[in-house]
């Protein structure tokens, strides 16, 4: 009898209140998601020759529109620069979200310009395999290359990844954060395996990245479950409230914190979760490497800051010593292993590991200055690294990009302009004054010193000095060695790569000489919404 009454109770229709979603506040994300879907439709319905132009136009226009939406939202922020939480608490629209989303969209625009470059391959085509399904070295592959096929699906895949990146630093609960993490990662795993040259290396990189990435995602998810078990919620605010009163060493909270941190540290490539970085950066198509190196770091550091600043500020005395250790190991290992590298892409990969350590230094400061200096560093680093990888695509010999360092000997005598631009990027990596790298390093070290992490600053400055050694070594190699007889040539790119490199140079120089406007903007945008 009671069962039958229960059955009628479930059959009774109850009114469901619709969730409140402020679509305007999600507009940058929605625009890019729309661009990705339009890209898929272009693949389905447009004839093959028309797709390239259409994809490129839709992606660039969409990203510019989304950037406009970010600016519009930023102007709408109230005067105290507090943001708000939207989509039933899933997404935070506040200063750090909008600042990082704007950065990501600008990096995205420059990356799509690099991805769309089609002048570099002597036989025509872009940096991607003409047909990914053909086995490397097979007749099918040769036929596909001879027919001049290209796979324009890379544009929607890049846009899908960008959707995840825009959501990742804005995610206000751990579930949204995990979904965003997967959306940004999955297309990147795929894109890594699509290189036109050195396909086995590229496929190996994709598989490694996928397996290790899946492993780190599992860590992240298990950590989320632990934190849910501790606080009864996945919302960062509620975890923050619950963990603020944590007096004793609560195992669930500490294990959850550590496992989520492992997932995030993997994405930024911090030691000891860095082992994928050199292989993946080397194997992936170079425009994708640039996109990945610049944009993934921005998104992942944004998410990491929100996680530590919003969910776990009360736990800082537990996580800070560990993160200080991670930062030190990351800076030292990145700088020292980079010295032994003989491949430009691997060298830049280890340099990106060292930079992850510098960026962690800013995050550890645990103050508004820490947030703003970290965000400034991310802008500076993102454009320098994208520009550096763009230059790598230009230096070529018969087998594609000549990435071995010995081939770069004497490049400065053959093409002073390209070598000069690369030297500028290397100086910015090293943090020489009048480049953006110096302003960024100065800002994070200042924030860390004020935040009471003086030892970290000492290690950071020493590592910068070690790192400067191998950057300067490359510059010396380019300008003061005899060029090889059968050395590589510098291919003249189309206006797209030129524009991307010019953007990188402009940001590097402007942020080096006049950093104040961007520093002020980052200062204003440094408050996380609670």
């Amino acid at each position: 009898m009671s069962m039958s009454t229960a059955a009628t109770a479930t059959l009774a229709v109850t009114k469901v209140d619709a969730p409140t979603i402020e679509y305007g506040k999600l507009s940058p994300i929605l625009i890019i998601a729309g661009v990705a879907v339009v890209g898929v439709l272009i693949e389905a319905f447009l004839p093959r020759p028309a797709r390239y132009r259409a994809q490129l136009t839709v992606a660039l226009v969409g990203m510019i529109a989304a950037f406009g939406a970010v600016v519009w939202l930023a102007r709408d922020l109230p005067d105290d620069h507090r943001g708000s939480v939207t989509a039933m608490g899933a997404v935070a629209v506040d200063g750090p979200s909008l600042f990082l989303q704007g950065t990501l969209l600008l990096i995205g625009i420059a990356s799509v310009l690099l991805i769309g470059e089609r002048r570099l391959e002597p036989a025509g085509g872009d940096a991607f395999a003409p047909q990914a399904a053909a086995a490397p070295g097979s007749q099918q592959e040769k036929d596909a290359a001879a027919a001049g096929w290209t796979q324009t699906e890379v544009y929607p895949l890049t846009m899908f990844s960008l959707v995840g990146m825009l959501l990742f630093p804005a995610a206000n609960d751990l579930l949204m954060m995990f979904v965003a993490l997967e959306i940004l990662s999955l297309p990147l795993y795929l894109l890594c395996g699509l290189a036109r040259r050195h396909r086995l290396l590229s496929q190996e990189a994709a598989l490694k990245y996928f397996l290790l990435g899946a492993f780190s995602s599992a860590f992240f998810l298990f950590g989320v479950a632990m934190l849910y078990g501790y606080s009864g919620s996945v919302s960062l605010d509620k975890i923050g409230v619950a963990s603020a009163g944590a007096m004793d060493n609560d195992a669930l909270l500490l294990i959850g914190l550590a496992m989520v941190a492992v997932g995030l540290l993997f994405k930024v490539g911090a030691v000891p979760f860095h082992s994928w970085t050199p292989d993946v950066y080397q194997g992936a198509p170079t425009p994708i490497t640039g996109f990945m190196a610049a944009a993934t770091k921005v998104a992942a550091f944004g998410a990491m800051m929100r996680f530590f600043y919003v969910a776990l500020p009360g736990m800082r005395w537990d996580w800070r010593p560990v993160m200080i250790g991670v930062a030190i190991v990351t800076m030292v290992a990145g700088a020292i292993i980079a010295i032994t590298q003989t491949d430009v892409k691997r060298l830049l990969a280890y340099s990106s590991i060292a930079h992850a350590g510098f960026i962690l230094t800013g995050m550890i400061a645990m103050s508004d200055a820490g947030v703003s200096s970290t965000m400034f560093y991310l802008v500076a680093y993102g454009f320098v690294t994208l520009g550096a990888f763009a230059v790598v695509t230009l230096v070529r010999d018969a087998r594609g990009e000549a990435t071995h360092l010995s081939h770069w000997a004497g490049l400065g005598r053959r093409s002073p302009l390209v070598a000069g631009v690369f030297a500028l990027f290397l100086l910015a990596f090293a943090g020489i004054p009048l480049t953006s790298g110096f302003s960024g390093k100065f800002a994070v070290f200042q924030a860390a010193a004020r935040g009471g992490a003086g030892s970290l600053v000492v290690v950071g400055v020493l590592c910068s000095a070690v790192a400067a050694f191998f950057y300067v070594r490359v510059i010396v190699l380019m300008f003061f060695s005899e060029p090889k007889v059968d050395g590589p040539t510098v291919v003249v790119p189309s206006v797209m790569t030129t524009a991307a490199i010019a953007l990188g140079v402009a940001v590097t120089v402007v942020l080096g000489i006049l950093p104040q406007p961007v520093l002020d903007l980052a200062d204003k945008a440094a408050l996380f919404v609670h």
Binding site: T10, P47, Q131, A147, F160, A180, P187
Partner: protein
């Protein structure tokens, strides 16, 4: 007979619990057949019985949502995927020789040990526990649906973007067009 007022001892023989045990035996038997049968397709079909039986067990525990998810995802999707995998990959189907038996005894020991541990923990933890589920059952389809489409609506919708990206990626990696077809529309 009123189920809700009946005494709630461990394994008290009400009708629902007898059915629970009987279905449990079917699940156990078919699960054993999954790993012992020599025909890989038969194994997949026995897996349908195992997973379907589990769904029935969930229903008896009034976890209707989990039950239908079990049917949709495990019986519907996973087993079908398994069979499609067999069809599409030219893997040998039909009778197969017993696998290398060198690791069989250690594997059995590990499996038995894991089972014993799990049984001990579960029996120890829940033997005396009795949870009264109110009318607004946590885990019912209604409650799950409410929270899924109200609180978690954005992550839920955004997951479709992930699936679309995975789909496009799978097509990019697997689809090959031959020269013969390329002149048609390209």
């Amino acid at each position: 007979m009123n189920l809700a007022v009946a005494e709630h001892g461990f394994l008290s023989p009400t009708g629902a619990e007898i059915a629970f045990v009987l279905i449990g035996l079917v699940v156990l038997g078919s699960a054993l057949l999954v790993v012992t049968t020599r025909q890989v397709v038969h194994a997949a079909l026995w897996l349908v019985v195992t997973l379907g039986g589990l769904a029935a067990e969930y229903l008896l525990l009034t976890a209707e949502f989990i039950a239908w998810v079990q049917v949709l995802i495990y019986v519907g999707a996973v087993v079908v995927l398994l069979l499609f995998g067999l069809m599409l990959t030219k893997a040998p189907i039909g009778y197969s020789e017993p696998p290398d038996s060198a690791a069989r005894i250690p594997a059995a020991v590990v499996a038995l040990g894991a089972t014993a541990t799990l049984l001990t923990v579960i029996v120890d933890a829940f033997r005396t526990a009795y949870l009264h589920l109110g009318d607004d059952t946590v885990g019912s389809t209604e409650v799950t649906g409410q929270s899924l489409f109200k609180v978690w609506v954005l992550p839920f919708e955004v997951l479709s973007v992930l699936l679309l990206a995975a789909l496009i990626g799978a097509i990019v990696l697997s689809r090959s067009r031959s020269r013969a077809h390329s002149g048609r529309k390209d």
